[in-house]
């Protein structure tokens, strides 16, 4: 659990972060959204003390994060940044091994961990271990960046616009990978982005920041349904609201008994994608399949109801 307690950061005469308090429960993803200059990155950086707050405190599992020397704290917290920040003079394996090396793991354990992470990110260890960062594609570099952040099995992972430099297709894949990894290891993740779409997709909770202030911190459905301020509403984009609501649920959750014609939809598909598919194929309903077996159907009408403003 990360508790941010009335954190304020002042640079000169400018208050970059203004008395922000929020709590990120263990094993959840909190996404901080805001425009540039909103203080979102500064706020995140107070967690691993890349920024020292002017006032206020950050506690991790109840302990003030100033209890340890900053470098020791940082070795326990994964950190992935935009533009990956891989060390150009080190191989992929050496990059991933950075924090385990700083922590003094033995060589064998480090080598095992490197291979395990490469496997996890669907990169063949034999082919990638000895490559240099510049020999990789943008998407691969980004994956190595996250693998490096996870190398020492941190409980907390901080990500600063990690997918900012990726094209939409690779970004969607990377987001999926992150969700899978988070579900598997139960890592507590704080991610900073300017993209509300990404926030809704990834966050268990979303924090919206503007001009140093935390405007709203709640579940995606609440942010969409009950935006606290006009700014939050604008960030979500009023015309997008029904679709954003739909994107929060899976087809499996909306499946009802019954039959329908045509190609089945996968149960893991988001309701938003299912809605689009029904509109596109001109159907009123479609069967839902899980692992190849038909488990029910979804109807356009049922989906539309889901997209309406919650009462």
């Amino acid at each position: 659990m990360i508790e941010i307690d009335a954190v304020t950061k002042v640079y000169g005469t400018q208050t970059v972060v203004d008395a922000v308090s929020m709590t990120v429960p263990s094993g959840t993803i909190a996404v901080i959204v805001g425009t540039s200059g909103s203080g979102k990155t500064t706020l995140m950086r107070t967690i691993n003390r890349l920024v020292e707050p002017t006032s206020g405190a950050v506690r991790i599992d109840g302990e003030d994060n100033r209890a340890l020397p900053a470098y020791e704290l940082r070795r326990r917290i994964g950190y992935a940044i935009q533009g990956h920040g891989l060390f150009p003079h080190r191989t992929v394996a050496q990059n991933i091994a950075t924090v385990p090396g700083l922590l003094g793991w033995d060589q064998k354990r480090i080598a095992n961990r490197v291979d395990e992470l490469l496997d996890l990110f669907q990169l063949d260890p034999a082919a990638f271990r000895e490559r240099m960062p510049h020999e990789l594609s943008g998407g691969q570099q980004q994956r190595i960046g996250v693998a490096r952040a996870l190398a020492a099995e941190p409980n907390i992972l901080l990500m600063d616009e990690p997918y900012g430099a990726l094209d939409p297709i690779i970004r969607a894949k990377a987001q999926e990978d992150l969700l899978a990894i988070q579900a598997r290891f139960g890592t507590t993740i704080v991610l900073v982005t300017h993209d509300m779409e990404e926030a809704i997709r990834l966050g268990h909770r979303i924090a919206v920041m503007d001009a140093g202030k935390l405007l709203q911190y709640s579940k995606p459905a609440d942010i969409i349904a009950k935006p606290a301020t006009p700014f939050v509403k604008e960030l979500i984009g009023a015309p997008e609201r029904p679709f954003r609501l739909l994107s929060l649920v899976r087809v499996a959750d909306l499946a009802e008994p019954g039959e329908a014609a045509g190609a089945p939809l996968d149960a893991g598909l988001s309701a938003r994608d299912a809605y689009a598919e029904l509109l596109w194929s001109g159907r009123e309903a479609a069967p839902v399949a899980r692992d190849g077996a038909i488990v029910g159907r979804v109807r356009l009408q049922g989906l539309a109801k889901q997209a309406a403003r919650p009462s």
């Binding site: 070795r75 950190y79 920040g85 150009p88």
Partner: protein
């Protein structure tokens, strides 16, 4: 094997052959002599002169590297930033002072021989290495620096494991320039009795023997070109490994 490599290998072979057995080259230099003067400088062993020359240059460049890189490290740390202008001017003074003047001033203090020459070469070598080390250390990508700190490297670890390795190709370029300058400048060390290849050239000037002048000049020139190329090759190999083109 590229043509350039073949040419360099041949140059190296001829150079080594000349240093080991200079008399064998008598027919080459004989046409340049007049009135039966000796064609080959034999007052001192050519190989020993070359080794002394290289040793003096190496010592001066190593010392200049340690001081320059050390200074560059200090002035790129937060606590040393205010010394940046001062250290720049010190290195600049070293560069603008004519080496012959350094020799003239150093001889009364240090006596004749290698010591004043070492001081001149050392002072002359500071600036290129310092400037390049400064460039290399300050041009490390902010994202890389940030990642190093964010992952829990201490200041020292970041310097040793990230900043210096990334700056190395640029620092090497500075060392290369200083070395070549020092190789040439070391010849004038013989005016204050340092044992260098300059001895051959000066002997030629004193006795009006073109063959001597040419031998000394060619040996120094060949050494400089070969060492320059070796450095360049190393810098490029390092830069290529990091995906840069140098």
């Amino acid at each position: 094997m590229s043509a350039g490599l073949v040419v360099r290998a041949i140059a190296l072979a001829i150079l080594l052959a000349f240093l080991v057995a200079p008399e064998a080259f008598t027919p080459v230099f004989a046409p340049l002599t007049e009135r039966g003067a000796p064609a080959i400088y034999t007052q001192a062993d050519m190989l020993a002169l070359a080794m002394n020359h290289l040793g003096l240059v190496a010592a001066a460049v190593v010392a200049a590297t340690i001081v320059s890189v050390g200074l560059a490290i200090v002035v790129t740390r937060p606590f040393g930033a205010e010394f940046l202008p001062l250290s720049r001017s010190i290195a600049n003074i070293g560069q603008t002072f004519p080496p012959i003047a350094v020799l003239a001033l150093a001889v009364p203090a240090l006596g004749f021989g290698a010591a004043p020459t070492f001081v001149a070469l050392f002072l002359y070598g500071l600036l290129p290495i310092f400037e390049n080390a400064l460039t290399g250390l300050t041009n490390v990508q902010p994202a890389v620096r940030e990642a190093a700190t964010g992952m829990g490297m201490t200041q020292r670890q970041r310097l040793v494991q990230v900043e210096l390795p990334l700056a190395l190709p640029v620092i090497l370029a500075g060392i290369r320039l200083s070395t070549v300058i020092a190789l040439a400048t070391a010849t004038i060390g013989s005016t204050v009795a340092a044992s260098t290849l300059g001895e051959v050239i000066i002997a030629g000037l004193l006795t009006n023997n073109v063959a001597y002048i040419l031998q000394g000049g060619l040996v120094v020139g060949a050494l400089a070109v070969l060492i320059y190329d070796a450095f360049l090759w190393l810098e490029r190999a390092l830069a290529r490994r990091m995906g840069r083109t140098a």
